[in-house]
């Protein structure tokens, strides 16, 4: 490890950079990154941050599995994803660093500011594992810089676990020439429930990190920012969903704790009572759905928040809500599956189960926000659709959006997003509970309390009087009416926008959170003259109109998704046995176009580099002229 003898400081201008703070779980990496990211955003930079979190609260320290950290990508312009690799890392020990090395997360020339105490530790075993880790990492051209992080922190606080993160923040502040006053304000905000002494100590730690960097480092980065021309908010996707729910006038969020969705309810629990609503923590996922449906049936548009395993449990209730046409918004923050899977990690594997995950035909709306800004607006949209069409709307975000932090234009709140008074006007004599419009399947919602509207909703097959009916034509009519609403809704949608030319050699189709990474990869390929475009779907059920026409203008169409698909050529895997990515299945069935897919389920967001490589590989693949024969 090189010790830097301070030479003249060289200032390198960059348009963007990616930084990792890598620590043991419980050492405060998230706070450090949160403040750094907010500071960059406030200075006008584009920002995207990604949490690296173990599933356990505090796994054994100083091991490759204890890694907790944060990646902050920030730049002069807009940043839409976590990028490829980190250019600079601060590591509190070599084991957590090694875990990042093994995941190929660090750039070949990454600058690593590493805790110095382990190299010379008195415990021989610690020195030994240190040396082995350094040996393993020597395959790369990393620039290691030894930093006495703990020693410096101990000069200010007694417990270094509560101080090293702020010292690290100070180093970053100096390296990237951040505005100290913004950092001070951020610290004051984050520790607003603590004493002034805590705030002062944290600021002192930051200053000491800055001083150390100034005295010992021979480089700084100049990352210019553009002045902000509009008001922006910066938050993660779960916070955006929570605030979106408030903006949409939702007064009931029924939930059961599940990673990575729970923090939506944390955010709501803190504020929703100031908005006339409550968070009800139910005894289980099923009950959470039931309470939400009960509240919605009684006139309040309700939200239930969950992730994949919870979705599985709610299935029967969601089908009931669809059957009795009670509006309901379900937020599924997807994680890796199946089963308990990867609780803290991203995957896009709930698409097909969201569309079809119950016995019987139960048409519902499924939408997938593509950015953190869309997380906010999706709640307003979802509520509107749920009420207008008396159905269930599933909003699919994922762990990437949930914990990623980005800034977006401050929404102009609209009073029409809020719920008006519950309709309690008397029901005219003769009005049936399901007065289905024969053409659209839509009907007036009758809410308990309305005089003359008494009827019993039932999950059994029923007629327009809500009377149980096993008559063949009655059952078919009910099916038709519930399904028709989706077609009516689809008629209000626009075809998706194409990023790039509207014709070419390859169209990449994504959905949800991958938009930023896909567009960056496509832009890279286009800059090299490749004829590739992309479109990112947000409406999955019903699908946006015009897809077949759009696809017909490209020689090849390929989905890019964070889920599993087989690779032809693997043992037993042929064109016949191959299982596709979930959107690919859907689009193939929907358009009869021979759509390929490139998918990956590493438990982390897709990197533009990997998508770019898949694009190049697909473009280089011969076009199939006829079924089963390749040129």
């Amino acid at each position: 490890m090189s010790k830097t003898a301070k030479k003249e400081t060289k200032i390198v201008e960059v348009s963007e950079h990616t930084v990792e703070i890598i620590t043991n779980s419980g050492e405060g990496a998230q706070k450090c990154a949160q403040i750094f990211g907010q500071t960059c955003a406030k200075m006008g930079n584009g920002v995207w941050t990604v949490e690296i979190i173990p599933a356990e609260i505090e796994p054994p320290h100083h091991t490759v599995t204890s890694t907790s950290g944060n990646i902050i990508r920030f730049g002069t312009g807009k940043i839409t994803n976590w990028g490829d690799q980190s250019k600079l890392a601060i590591a509190f020990n070599e084991q957590v660093l090694l875990s990042r090395h093994r995941l190929d997360s660090l750039d070949d020339n990454c600058i690593i500011l590493q805790e110095s105490m382990w190299e010379t530790h008195e415990d021989e075993q610690i020195r030994k594992v240190y040396e082995e880790a350094m040996e393993e990492m020597s395959s790369k051209n990393y620039r290691f810089i030894s930093v006495p992080i703990e020693e410096e922190a101990l000069k200010i606080v007694d417990n270094p676990s509560h101080g090293k993160n702020m010292f690290a923040l100070g180093m970053l502040a100096e390296i990237y020439q951040r505005d100290l006053s913004i950092i001070e304000n951020q610290i004051a905000h984050i520790f607003r429930f603590k004493s002034q002494k805590v705030i002062d100590l944290n600021i002192e730690l930051v200053k000491s990190g800055m001083a150390w960097a100034r005295a010992n480092l021979d480089f700084q980065f100049d990352l210019p920012s553009e002045p902000l021309e509009e008001e922006r908010l910066v938050m993660n996707g779960n916070q955006a969903c929570a605030l979106g729910a408030i903006a949409a006038g939702m007064e009931m969020c029924a939930m059961y704790p599940i990673t990575p969705a729970t923090s939506v309810s944390h955010e709501l629990a803190e504020i929703i009572e100031d908005f006339g609503g409550i968070v009800h923590q139910a005894e289980d996922e099923i009950a959470a759905a039931g309470v939400a449906i009960g509240a919605s049936y009684a006139g309040k548009v309700a939200l239930t928040v969950t992730s994949g395993p919870g979705m599985a449990l709610k299935t029967e209730f969601l089908a009931l809500a669809i059957m009795i046409e009670v509006p309901l918004v379900v937020l599924d923050v997807q994680r890796g599956g199946p089963s308990t899977g990867l609780p803290t990690k991203v995957e896009q594997s709930d698409l097909l189960s969201s569309l079809y995950g119950q016995p019987g035909d139960a048409p519902r709306v499924v939408i997938a926000p593509r950015s953190i800004e869309e997380c906010f607006h999706s709640m307003v949209t979802a509520r509107r659709i749920a009420e207008t069409f008396r159905t269930v709307v599933i909003v699919l975000t994922d762990a990437n959006l949930a914990t990623g932090v980005q800034q977006f234009t401050r929404p102009e709140l609209d009073i029409r997003w809020q719920q008006g008074p519950i309709d309690q006007s008397p029901v005219p004599e003769g009005l049936r509970p399901y007065e289905w419009d024969a053409k659209t399947g839509m009907s007036r919602r009758i809410i308990p309390g309305a005089r003359g509207g008494q009827h019993t909703v039932t999950g059994l097959a029923h007629d327009e009087f809500s009377l149980v009916s096993y008559h063949p034509s009655s059952n078919e009519r009910g099916m038709r009416m519930r399904s028709r609403k989706l077609a009516v809704f689809q008629s209000t949608l626009m075809p998706p926008e194409i990023h790039g030319e509207t014709e070419g050699d390859l169209l990449v189709v994504g959905w949800g959170s991958t938009q930023g990474a896909i567009e960056e990869a496509v832009d890279r390929a286009r800059a090299e003259g490749r004829k590739v475009s992309t479109c990112q779907l947000t409406f999955l059920s019903p699908l946006e109109p015009g897809l077949k026409d759009i696809f017909s203008k490209f020689d090849k169409v390929m989905t890019v998704e964070i889920n599993y698909s087989d690779t032809v050529g693997d043992p037993y895997i042929t064109e016949e046995t191959r299982r596709y990515g979930q959107l690919a299945w859907l689009l193939r069935a929907h358009t009869l176009v021979d759509i390929d897919c490139w998918t990956s389920c590493p438990g982390q967001p897709l990197r533009p580099r990997d998508i770019y490589n898949s694009i190049v590989a697909k473009l280089d693949q011969p076009v199939k002229l006829e079924r089963g024969a390749a040129v």
């Binding site: 907010q38 406030k42 905000h189 008001e231 922006r232 908010l233 910066v234 938050m235 605030l243 408030i246 006038g249 009931m252 029924a254 504020i271 009572e273 100031d274 908005f275 006339g276 609503g277 409550i278 009800h280 139910a282 005894e283 099923i286 009950a287 759905a289 039931g290 309470v291 939400a292 449906i293 009960g294 509240a295 919605s296 049936y297 009684a298 006139g299 309700a302 209730f317 009931l320 009795i324 800034q407 401050r410 709140l413 009073i415 809020q418 719920q419 008006g420 308990p448 309390g449 005089r451 003359g452 008494q454 009827h455 019993t456 909703v457 039932t458 999950g459 059994l460 009377l467 149980v468």
Partner: protein, 317 residues
Amino acid sequence: MSGIALSLLDLEADAPVCFEAEDYQRRPGKWCAGCGDFGALNAVKRLLAKEQLQPERMVFVSGIGCSSRFPHYVNAYGFHGIHGRALPVATGIKLARPELDVFVVTGDGDCTSIGAGHWIHATRYNANMVVLLLDNNIYGLTKNQTSPTTPQGYSSMTSPHGSVLPALDPLQATLGVSNASFVAQTADWVPVHLYATLQAAYEHPGFSFVRILQRCPKFTPDVFEQQIKDPNTTELLVHEDGVDPPGLEKLFKARRVHDPKNIDDARSLARRTDMLRLGVFFRDDSLPVYDEVRAVPPMTPQEKINRLNKVFERYAV
């Protein structure tokens, strides 16, 4: 249940002056002849007429099973949902609209088997509603399968050699839950007692759990044969804070004054198997009621927008 709905009713100038019990029957019940559910429906209708409840201000919530068809026959709003899940739906309705009167009708399979988790927690939430457990000791709608309350040794299609385990006692289970506030037992063959118990349950502010013993004429016609034939095997729990319907003194000689405030006595009486006991085992009107403790002041849309704009400031750059 009490309070708000009645006071609103008083304000309804155009409300019909008087509802008869039959006004609350929407259509005839389609249960088998001799089913105990008819008795429960009649008692409920009498209660609604006694309280003069507006049909549109009540919701009857049920799950799945014979008993869960109940809401179809009552002139009120009804929610016939999915198996075992009536209680969460009812909780949601009550949280959203505390002014509505909520009744839950459930069976021994629906409540004490598939819905057992919700039963425990709904008891603890203590939301203001009346819960009727129509307990006929058997799965009827699916045609004769053992339920948790089927007596040990009783045979069914799924236990042809007799149920192997002691029956689950819903009273003991409910009395064991923290914040349980009203637990009573009555029987379909004592309609006077059934009605009086429902009346007390309705008046109680909180989660009023009433187990109604009854027979399934098809599959358990004989489960309470001894008790019906010999009233001396039944003891009435009487108290001014519980029920003591007039006219039963002659039939039921065994009477015990039981103060329903006494949880230890209630649990001890529920455990005893020497006699069948009908009455209010436990009642405490002072316990936290979920829809009351979670009530928050309403906010106008404009106020909400103003407040949300303030919240935005925390995230503004």
